[in-house]
Structure formats: structure tokens, C-alpha cells
């Protein structure tokens, strides 16, 4: 199993966000679905230790998450947040920063292509990109670290349908090109159908369904 959560509980601001969540996430492509406020994003943040649960355990490839160095873990399990949050500079300087943190050489053109961006974007100022282009730059920045797992938090929620299709096409292409597992949070069951092989359904902080796509989102 890629990730295994056991009896995971988490409270924030006096509210239970995750309530005894036990679930397995296999290699491949998993979609975490559910209404907003169900705890999807919080669960995703646990997977690369941007947050820790109050109770229960999370394991990655059979080892407890807290036995990994958090910085090394985050380079291997990359998270792309819901809204773009790039560093000031060009697209390429953002890629280079991420690649440098991971100690990986940067292949800028290939990274641009994987993120669905034309080569001409390398020198573009990120402040002058559309939100959709910024989000693809976020995706490319994560890929510049050559992660083994990609965590995506509602990567298309702020985008119009055309920009959403571009991101989804980039993700589909990416999975064909790279040996990479993807865990995607989405409030949209249709997107889960398009991108997921495995589905985890959350409601009010609890797991209400988990299994292959065809069984859970029949």
C-alpha cells in the first residue's frame, strides 16, 4: 500500500475535522471526494506531514510517516495546493528553486511539457500569468523535484473549464510518461471519474466509501 491511515483523528479550532479515519490508498491514481468541509484537504496535508494528526497513525510504504525526515518526505511526496502560491520571479526560476531543494538537475523544457506549458513560458514572469497558467507552473514546480507521489488539492477548483481541461490533460499525459502515483482531492465526482482508479469518499470527517472507482462511484 502507498498510504495506510489508522484511526486518524484531528481537531482544529474546537471542530472535529477528521474522525477515526481508517483507509488505504494504493499505488496508482486515487481520488478523495466529498462535499466541502468533509476534511479532504486536511487528509491530504497529513500525507506529506504539512500537518500531523492528533490521534492515530499514517504509514507510507509500510513505514510510519513520523519515522521519515519531513523535508526528504516532502520532496518525494509533493503537494500542489489548491491556489497557486509561487515565488516571485520567472516560471523557470520557480522550477530551479524546487529542483535545487531536491538536489535534482533541472530539465526545464521537459518539465514545462509535463505541466502542459509551451517552452516559451520559461522566461515568463509568474505575476503576469493567468491563474490556470500559474497552477500549471505549480504542477511543473512539483514535478521538477521528480517526486514519486503527487498530492493535488482541488487543482482545478479556481479555473474555467478550458483551463481545467488543460490541467487534466497534463495529468493524464503525466501518468503515461512517469511512474508516479497521484492522490487527488476533488469535490467533483466527474473529475474523480476522469482521473481516478481508486476512490475514497469522505463526509463530515468520516470515510463513507473506499475502493475501485467502479464500485464507489457507480
Amino acid at each position: 500500500m502507498l498510504f495506510e491511515l489508522r484511526e486518524v483523528g484531528l481537531r482544529r479550532g474546537g471542530r472535529t475535522v477528521l474522525d477515526s479515519v481508517s483507509a488505504a490508498i494504493p499505488e496508482g491514481s486515487t481520488a478523495i471526494v466529498g462535499p466541502s468541509g468533509a476534511g479532504k484537504s486536511t487528509l491530504l496535508r497529513l500525507l506529506n506531514r504539512l500537518a500531523d494528526p492528533d490521534r492515530g497513525t499514517v504509514a507510507y510504504r509500510g513505514r510510519q510517516l513520523d519515522s521519515y525526515d519531513p523535508l526528504a518526505l516532502r520532496r518525494e511526496v509533493a503537494l500542489v495546493p489548491q491556489l497557486p502560491a509561487l515565488l516571485p520571479g520567472t516560471v523557470e526560476s520557480n522550477f530551479r528553486y524546487a529542483a535545487g531543494l531536491a538536489g535534482e538537475p533541472l530539465e526545464a523544457e521537459r518539465t514545462l511539457a509535463l505541466a502542459g506549458l509551451d517552452p516559451g513560458f520559461a522566461e515568463r514572469d509568474v505575476a503576469k500569468l493567468s491563474v490556470g497558467e500559474q497552477q500549471r507552473t505549480m504542477l511543473g514546480r512539483a514535478l521538477a523535484q521528480r517526486p514519486r507521489v503527487l498530492l493535488l488539492d482541488e487543482p482545478t477548483s479556481a479555473l474555467d473549464p478550458a483551463a481545467r481541461d488543460a490541467i487534466e490533460a497534463a495529468l493524464t499525459e503525466l501518468r503515461r510518461e512517469l511512474e508516479i502515483s497521484v492522490v487527488l482531492v476533488s469535490h467533483d465526482p466527474e473529475q474523480a471519474r476522469r482521473l481516478g482508479d481508486w476512490v475514497l469518499r469522505l463526509e463530515a470527517g468520516r470515510v463513507v466509501g473506499s475502493g475501485p472507482l467502479a464500485e464507489v462511484l457507480a
Binding site: 504539512l50 500537518a51 519531513p70
Partner: protein, 258 residues
Amino acid sequence: MSTSIHVEAWQVAASLALVAVAAAISFWRGADLERDIGVATVRSFVQLTLVGYAIDLIFEADTVWLVLLLLAVMVLFGAITARHRAEKVPNSFVPLLIALAVAGASTLGLVVALGIFDPTPRYLVPVGGMVIGNAMTASAVALNRLGDEMHDARSRVEATLALGATAREAAAPTVRRALRSGMITLVDSTKTTGLIFFPGTMVGMLLAGADPTDAVRLQLILLYTLLGSVSISALLATTLAYRNFFTPAAQLRELEKA
């Protein structure tokens, strides 16, 4: 520099006419500062009078220990005051206390070691007060900015952490801007000193009848000394305080005030 000047109590009382002008303007234009002006006037009178007596005692006693005690009290009150400006920074008191203490001790230590001032109460008390006061302002401004920026840039900081950056790397642009804002006021006023305003020490010495050359030289020494203390305090305050936004596992702490 053995100049002396006598100021009568009626002269102080007469200068209250300008306080009345300030209060009248505030009342006339609805700035709602009359009460604050009153409090400021009374407090400045009481505080400076008490400090005057304290300094008198310290000069009489002529011992360095009393000076150190006074400076320690200034550092403590400075840190308490600055903390109110840095409300968005978790646990800012200890970083501020360390910043003010180290800035005060190292700057005063250096000017004494270089032979610029004698280690006597007559020099250490006023210079120490200026050094600690300016260090307090600079570190308060720096941490105020740090708090605001860490809240505004929360998503960017966390997105950088998500790439496996250390807390230090993720906070670096924010810490840099906070340090800059703590230092820039004094740097700018040092640039324009003499052109746009006459700094306090020089004004005081000229009023007291000192030679203008002496007044200028002493003012320059103080300005340069203050640049040192301001940068040391802003550097230490920001370097120590940014860590309080992160857990040991390089996660952003949940903060009460968003």
C-alpha cells in the same frame, strides 16, 4: 564639554501653550486625540521627572552597577512595550528581550572598548537609553511586519514547505523584508540628517551652549552607534522570532489570529 544651562519651571509651563495648540487642532478637526495628548503630556512630565531624579542619584553614586541596573530595567520595559506591537508573532517576548539586551550590551561595550566614551554614568546612562530606545523601536517595527507578512504570505510559505524547504528557507523572503523595515527608518533619517531635521542631541548641545563642532561630532557618533544597535536588534528579533511560527517538523503552526 562642560557646558551648562539653567531652565526655569515657568519656561516648561509656558511651553504647554503648544500642547494647547495640539489639543485645539485635534478638537477642531475631530481627530479625537485630545485625551491622548493629555495623557502623553502628563506621562512625559511624570516619567521624565522621575528619570531625572534617578539619573541624579546614579550620577551622585557614581557606580557602574546602578547604571547596569537602570539599563536592565530599560531592556525589560522595552521588550514589554515592543511585544504589544508584535501581537501577531507567537511568544515574541523572549526574542525581543534577547534582541534588546544583546544590542544594548554589544553597542555600549564596543563604544567603550574603542575609547569613544568613558565607562562612567555620565555617558552610559544617556547613550544606553538612546541605544535601547532605538533598538526597541526597530525590533518592534520588524516584528510587526514579520507578523503581518507571515499571515498574508501563509499560503506561499506553506507551498514552499511543501517542496521540502526548511522553515528558514520558507520564511527567508519574509524575514528579509521584516529586517529591512526595522532598519530603514533610521537609515533614511540618517541620510537626511542636518538637511531636513536637526537631531535631538545636537539641538540639546547647541541650546546648552556647546561648540557646534563638538555638537556635530557627538551627534555623528550617536547616529553611527544607533545604526549598529538598530541592526543588531532587528536581526536578532527577526531571526529568533520567525521560528515561533513553525513546529520542529517544519510545519506552520495553527495561529489563533488569522
